[in-house]
């Protein structure tokens, strides 16, 4: 019975430590910058690159004629440029807080 109580108390202490750590660490930490939409744009950029590669693959495997591929590729690259331009407008990427502090 005593062993059981000790296990539960240890479990409770571990949980309190685990969930309480970010609240303790927050004291004295600078507030993080708000989400500026960069991760969304990065994901959109990756998706656009994938689309460009897909179109290239479709062309190489005969699903797109050279004319259609040329037109589509230009359009996709223009869209990629637009995404890169919007990313550039956000400025250099801010440093991410080291993992293990409050972001585990």
């Amino acid at each position: 019975m005593v062993v059981g109580a000790v296990i539960v108390i240890l479990l409770l202490a571990g949980v309190v430590w685990l969930v309480g750590e970010p609240l303790r660490a927050a004291a004295g930490r600078d507030p993080e910058a708000a989400d500026d939409g960069r991760p969304g744009l990065e994901a959109a950029k990756e998706a656009k690159y994938r689309e460009i590669r897909d179109a290239e693959m479709d062309h190489r495997t005969g699903k797109l004629s050279p004319e259609d591929y040329g037109r589509l590729d230009r359009q996709l690259r223009t869209e990629a440029v637009e995404i890169l331009r919007r990313l550039d407008e956000l400025g250099p990427e801010p440093r991410r807080s080291p993992p293990g502090t409050a972001s585990l």
């Binding site: 059981g4 539960v8 969930v19 609240l23 660490a25 693959m57």
Partner: protein, 722 residues
């Protein structure tokens, strides 16, 4: 001690869920990241606590600690250790604990992997996942606790349901529940995204892999269930349209639709309302699946899960449905489409068709599954629909689905030209025509037009996927000069989603060939045979050579105390094909009311199938021995064995087994020759192999960096957007 720890840990788990929900929502509303982080850590804490709970219960089962109600009710000292470990999830309480434990583990993985992403969405997703956690830990703490104890402690337990003593039962429930719980993750992230009106590319990237993982695990679970049905249940089929089977298939179908249509949103910004609806429906169907297994609301072979948990589940499902509708309706401005379909001759159009077919399939299955309930509610009389009803609607839809899975790979995104389409369809069409000609010329397939159509559709898929691989490898070799194998490897490695998907399509075609062939061309007979007698099925001659009987020493190691069976010689054209050993295992009764001997074998009995599986056909057999003819011997044994000498009961049982071997009564046999069943399992392996390829993380930074540089170079040349 263990039970007390378990009960306290469950209360703690519930408290952690409630705290985490509050912390995550407060953090989201106030913009205080530390509270969001604390909420996120509550998910990890939940996983830790539930791991302790699960370990306590697992240890109790392995130690046969019958002070736990659930151990006494679902295990016994005679249950083999292998099955004691799996018996945890044979009980309702244990399976709910497994469900929420897996939920906590997968949620922790999801929350950890997105710790630097979707900062506005994650707090709400965390709250939803912990909401599910609170629901299930609440059930476990107050309504169906696995840590209830009993006094005095019984000396022996009831034992594991014999039907569940099959190796696939070790893996089937965890796979199924992994699928269900993983589908709650895209659901939770969809709720979060809709709350903050953000369904962008980052959201898609985050949920896609969890949706794929859920699809993967649930699919494996469904297939293992089919395999278990085929090898264990003694009826020779792998799919019976049982409500619990249907419950697992529905979220898988909608998940498949979602995995396809989310690609259209990723590429074109289209179908956002549709995708949000699909992902919310998938999560809800996953909960519905759990409800059907655990509520006992529908009669099925899985009725061992009957319980009184119906009301809480109905309330939860009503909340999920109402909440989902509310979110989609109120967020429709954020879900406006960015583009429209360019052409009906495009991969997008094929995907839309594929989605409609998959949703149609799901609707048919939903209606057939719930019809008995609806009928009872409306007319007061319970009626049900059987396999012929399901087949009438699902078979044509499956044919269209397989055909579409062949069309999709050879058609371009956005807009294909008729000339290109004609060129790309040539090989698949030729493959289909060739298959048709060969089958008509060399087989009797013409007498089953639906099966014949399925074979042709599958050949179309084979032609289509084969052509794609061939052209891709050829293009790769032309570019790099690599050898055939290296080029194939590079091609798949560099285009995992594309070629993983194609492999899945090929696997589905193989699987459906197996289903069509084994359904249409199966030969089955139920016969009563005495030793020396024969029966012919599908060109095979089955001869009952001699009876077999064993006591305690169960050849399948399932823990049955008496195993009665037969040695069956199977010949074809006078040549020996195989010798099968079907048998039936008899297990102890939960009490001693049937006397010292009768109680040893008075519990449930289950078939052990005699099976010779092959690429061309399976030769299958099951036996139902005439146990009633042994009843006089059992009765006599009950009279002579005193209750104080249970060991003597085994001696009597051995004598009964000897008698059965010496003077066997005729036995009932089910004999089946079924073509291409193995193709179902091989197709399944291909499907999940392809899924694994598609899920595997992208080769990464090197390729991306190279592409980045290339687009960067082109930036200078590209026209300035207006």
């Amino acid at each position: 001690m263990g039970a007390s720890v378990g009960r306290a840990a469950l209360i703690l788990a519930l408290g952690v869920c409630l705290y985490g929900i509050g912390a995550a929502l407060y953090g989201a509303r106030s913009g205080r990241r530390e509270w969001v982080d604390s909420g996120r850590r509550a998910v990890y804490a939940l996983a830790l606590i539930l791991t302790v709970c699960f370990a306590v219960l697992e240890i109790a089962f392995l130690r046969s600690d019958f002070s736990f109600d659930t151990v006494a009710g679902h295990s016994s000292t005679t249950t083999p250790t292998f099955y004691k470990a799996a018996a945890v999830w044979s009980s309702q309480e244990g399976s709910l604990l497994l469900w929420v434990w897996l939920l906590s583990l997968w949620s922790s993985a999801a929350i950890f992997l997105t710790r630097h992403a979707l900062r506005d969405v994650v707090p709400y997703a965390t709250a939803v996942l912990l909401g599910f956690g609170a629901f299930f830990t609440g059930l476990l703490a107050f309504l169906a606790t696995p840590f209830a104890t009993t006094h005095p402690v019984p000396l022996e337990g009831v034992g594991l349901n014999p039907l569940l003593r099959h190796p696939s039962m070790m893996i089937h429930p965890p796979m199924l529940y992994s699928g269900y719980t993983l589908f709650t993750i895209p659901f939770a992230f969809a709720v979060g995204a809709l709350v903050v009106r953000r369904v962008d590319a980052e959201w898609i990237r985050a949920i896609r892999r969890f949706a794929l993982a859920a699809w993967f695990f649930l699919g494996i679970g469904v297939l293992l269930g089919a395999r278990w049905s085929y090898a264990e249940l003694g009826w020779g089929g792998y799919w019976a349209w049982d409500p619990v089977e249907n419950a697992s298939l529905m979220p898988w179908l909608i998940g498949t639709a979602f995995i396809h249509s989310i690609m259209i949103q990723e590429k074109r910004g289209m179908l956002k309302i549709w995708n949000a609806s699909l992902v919310l429906a998938t999560g809800t169907l996953a909960i519905l699946g759990t409800f059907l297994v655990r509520s006992g609301i529908l009669q099925s072979i899985h009725a061992f899960g009957a319980s009184t948990l119906g009301v809480p589940f109905v309330v939860l499902i009503a909340l999920l449905v109402a909440g989902s509708i509310y979110l989609v309706v109120t967020r429709r401005d954020a879900l406006r489409t960015e583009h429209h379909l360019d052409s009906l001759l495009s991969r997008e159009a094929i995907f839309v068709l594929n989605n409609l077919v998959l949703v149609g399939l799901c609707f048919v299955i939903f209606w057939g599954t719930f019809f008995p309930l609806i009928s009872e509610a409306v007319t007061g009389a319970k009626s049900s629909v059987g396999p012929p009803w399901f087949d009438r609607y699902t078979v044509p839809l499956a044919l269209v689905l397989v055909l579409l899975s062949g069309i999709g790979p050879v058609i371009a995104w956005r807009r294909a030209t008729p000339a290109n389409a004609r060129r790309n369809f040539r090989v698949p069409t030729l493959a289909a025509m060739l298959a048709l000609g060969l089958l008509l010329a060399t087989t009797t397939a013409a007498r089953e037009p639906v099966a014949l159509a399925m074979f042709c559709c599958a050949a179309f898929v084979l032609g289509s996927v084969g052509q794609e691989f061939y052209r891709g490898i050829a293009a790769r070799r032309a570019m790099s000069g690599e050898s055939l194998l290296v080029a194939a490897g590079s091609l798949v490695r560099r285009n995992r989603r594309r070629y993983g998907g194609y492999t899945v399509h090929l696997g589905m075609a193989v699987l459906f060939v197996g289903v069509a062939a084994s359904s249409a061309f199966q030969d089955a007979r139920d016969v009563r045979l005495a030793p020396g007698q024969s029966a012919t099925v599908g060109g095979y001659r089955y001869t009952y050579v001699r009876p077999t009987a064993s006591v305690v020493n169960d050849p399948k190691r399932t823990g049955s105390l008496l195993d009665l069976g037969a040695e069956v010689l199977v010949t074809r054209g006078g040549h020996q094909a195989v010798t099968l050993y079907p048998s039936r295992g008899y297990y102890p009764a939960p009490d001693t009311s049937q006397g010292p001997v009768g109680s040893l074998i008075g519990g449930e009995a289950t078939s052990h199938v005699g099976l010779k599986a092959g690429l061309r056909r399976d030769v299958w057999s099951a036996i139902e021995p005439d146990i009633a003819s042994l009843q006089p011997l059992i009765d006599r044994g009950n009279k002579v064995v005193p209750a104080t000498r249970p060991d003597l009961a085994f001696v009597v049982l051995a004598a009964i087994a000897d008698h059965y071997r010496a003077a066997p009564p005729p036995a009932q046999f089910r004999l089946i020759v079924s073509p291409l069943v193995t193709w179902i399992w091989l197709g399944g392996l291909l499907v999940f192999g392809g899924g694994l390829i598609a899920m595997w993380p992208a080769p990464g930074r090197r390729v991306r960096a190279r592409y980045l540089a290339r687009v960067g170079r082109e930036l200078k040349e590209a026209p300035t957007p207006v």
